[in-house]
Symmetry: C2
Subunit: 416 residues, 2 copies
Amino acid sequence: MRCEIISVGTELLMGQITNTNARDIARELLPLGVGVYYQTVVGDNGPRLAAVFEQALKRAELIILTGGLGPTDDDLTCETVAEVLELPLEKSSIWEEKLKEFFSRFKRPMAEINMKQAMIPRGGTLLLNDRGTAPGIMLEHQGKIIILLPGPPREMLPMLKAQVIPLLREKLLEKGSLAVLRSKVLRVIGLGESVVAEMIRPLLEEQTNPTIAPLAKGWEVHLRLTAHGSSEEEVEELLASKAGEIKKVLGHYIYGEDEEELELAVARLLWQSGKTIALAESCSGGLLCHRLTNIPDSSRYMLAGLVTYSNEAKANILGIDPALIARVGAVSPEVAEAMASGVRRLCRADIGVGITGIAGPGGATPQKPVGLTYIALETDDFNICRRYEFWGSRLDVKERASQSALYMLYRYLIEK
Amino acid sequence: MRCEIISVGTELLMGQITNTNARDIARELLPLGVGVYYQTVVGDNGPRLAAVFEQALKRAELIILTGGLGPTDDDLTCETVAEVLELPLEKSSIWEEKLKEFFSRFKRPMAEINMKQAMIPRGGTLLLNDRGTAPGIMLEHQGKIIILLPGPPREMLPMLKAQVIPLLREKLLEKGSLAVLRSKVLRVIGLGESVVAEMIRPLLEEQTNPTIAPLAKGWEVHLRLTAHGSSEEEVEELLASKAGEIKKVLGHYIYGEDEEELELAVARLLWQSGKTIALAESCSGGLLCHRLTNIPDSSRYMLAGLVTYSNEAKANILGIDPALIARVGAVSPEVAEAMASGVRRLCRADIGVGITGIAGPGGATPQKPVGLTYIALETDDFNICRRYEFWGSRLDVKERASQSALYMLYRYLIEK
């Protein structure tokens, strides 16, 4: 089944907001075997929206529109779709009640204009919205499925997952066209894209089902395997078997799958080992601590993350000798090591990490350029301190510093 | 001038990556008075790409394509565009040299396949790429301008800003169609969208030039003013005057303009007052410190940010009485206040901030639900502690906690 996603909104065309909806919808459709062939963005303009929608009716069997379901005059999606399909709009008494309830709950008067949101094209199925006043609508028309969803991701995404996907699965089963298609992403750290491609070249060359698509992403390489077949078991088996072959080659360079971030891989290794950790950050400004505490249950390993930004904080809190800082400078291997050691002692942690560097754009000297960063790791029986020269913006340097520290932790925990 | 942006890549259609390129291009085109009328995403498929490009030639005068310029077989953009326009591909000796240099610098052998990236359609202008092996290409064909840019944002964006925009400005001047259009965003904190709309209703109702578009974004409201005119001075004056009228109504609820984040507003107030700050975070996990250190030169106000995650760290580092924590619990106004006070004393800062809460999904009790958060601020002559109940994911709670703490700092620094 071919799908086209149409995102409606002048704010998208102007670049004021990012089209995350099209991405999220495509991701959710993939396991149903629905292929997205086109994504189109059009503004809040009736005739242009009508033309785009008419074209979609010609080249897709499933059309999902997001946005333009609000109460104001520039919200045109529902009327335009109804007009093109020549369907009258009828008041949904269910949604009329819902709107009244919504406004009374927030003790606000309901403007007449809001009642527009209770008008849906004849024959349409209402999709409920707990987080806003615009309902979703699903229509079947001359063998095509047309779905209208609200624009705000907070409203769209729960509706998509809880209502649209189950409904679509049912429809596809009815039509006998529920292909089984699954994707699995293998996440690789510590190797560049071309090296990965070289290492798994035979597998890339012989790929059929599953297909293997390498993609450089951030400072990682992701390998997306996509398999199709006649049953879930068959497809899962195809994916697992190919993933196994790739893992044999890449080993621990593969740290996780699908949406699993590097911080989760580190968290799992910390949980397994029962070790605790304490961080002393400077140039990364707390980003490493933020990432390591994004994992639910991180309190089982994270004791403290101290962003000792000033030299005084490095001295007073971590106990680093001010004379050392004066002699070698705050951005030095000695101070990175003293930070790792100091925070480990202070928190009685198994592992201490210290990061010091120049995030920029200011603060560089001829000897110490922007991006120069030292990262140290200390444990009872192992020490390491590495020097990096990152490039890019201030945020790039912070991100690369946190990523490199996570990679250092990952390698240590894997190898110890 | 009407523009269509075509993003090429199956990974976009599958939702594997987000289409930030279309957003960024639209943003950069706005000040030139170029309106983006359509954004289209199509996969790495020759016939479908050709059809989409042919359609764009019919409905736009400027067509910008991104992606599909790589060296491999599924990179089809350049060939397809050349085919539709019936232009032969010719080898660029400049780019051939550049490719050889690139590969010798990284001491890698150059595969024959890479030479494909030196082939450009006859008459095309080469756009240089310092960050990758794919050049950009600009073509003029029967009154249309066609621009091909590489897909990776790190390569695309610098090329767009440094080369494409100046070239386009020149072309538009030549054609006499350089309209002057400028946008300004006023960023509002502490008020909901409907309240803002109510407060500035007369201005919204009488809007013509500039137009005013309110948009709820994250936990803020953004007002986008867009003005057009015959000269830069005229347009800037229109924007400044309307912004002034809005500021008269909304006052300090407007904290910044355009890309200025709330942390920058706080940073400016800290710089003005000469005050220093120290943070003690728990549930927000360092996110507040990360945001406040994203500002260049943040070392002028930021002394330290201590993520005292464990109760031991709260006691040992901040000097909070363990008996207090045992009696009232770590998530309590008393502990938030003790954290603010403790970190302020430890770092000898002017302002201390303490954040404690339950980020979830675990850790809740019947009395203390996920999302419950206390934020305290302490100075020499002012104290405040507020209770919040945030909802959403773990990351939502962290983000709202850091946002609320920044808003508390903003209000304090504005009002003191």
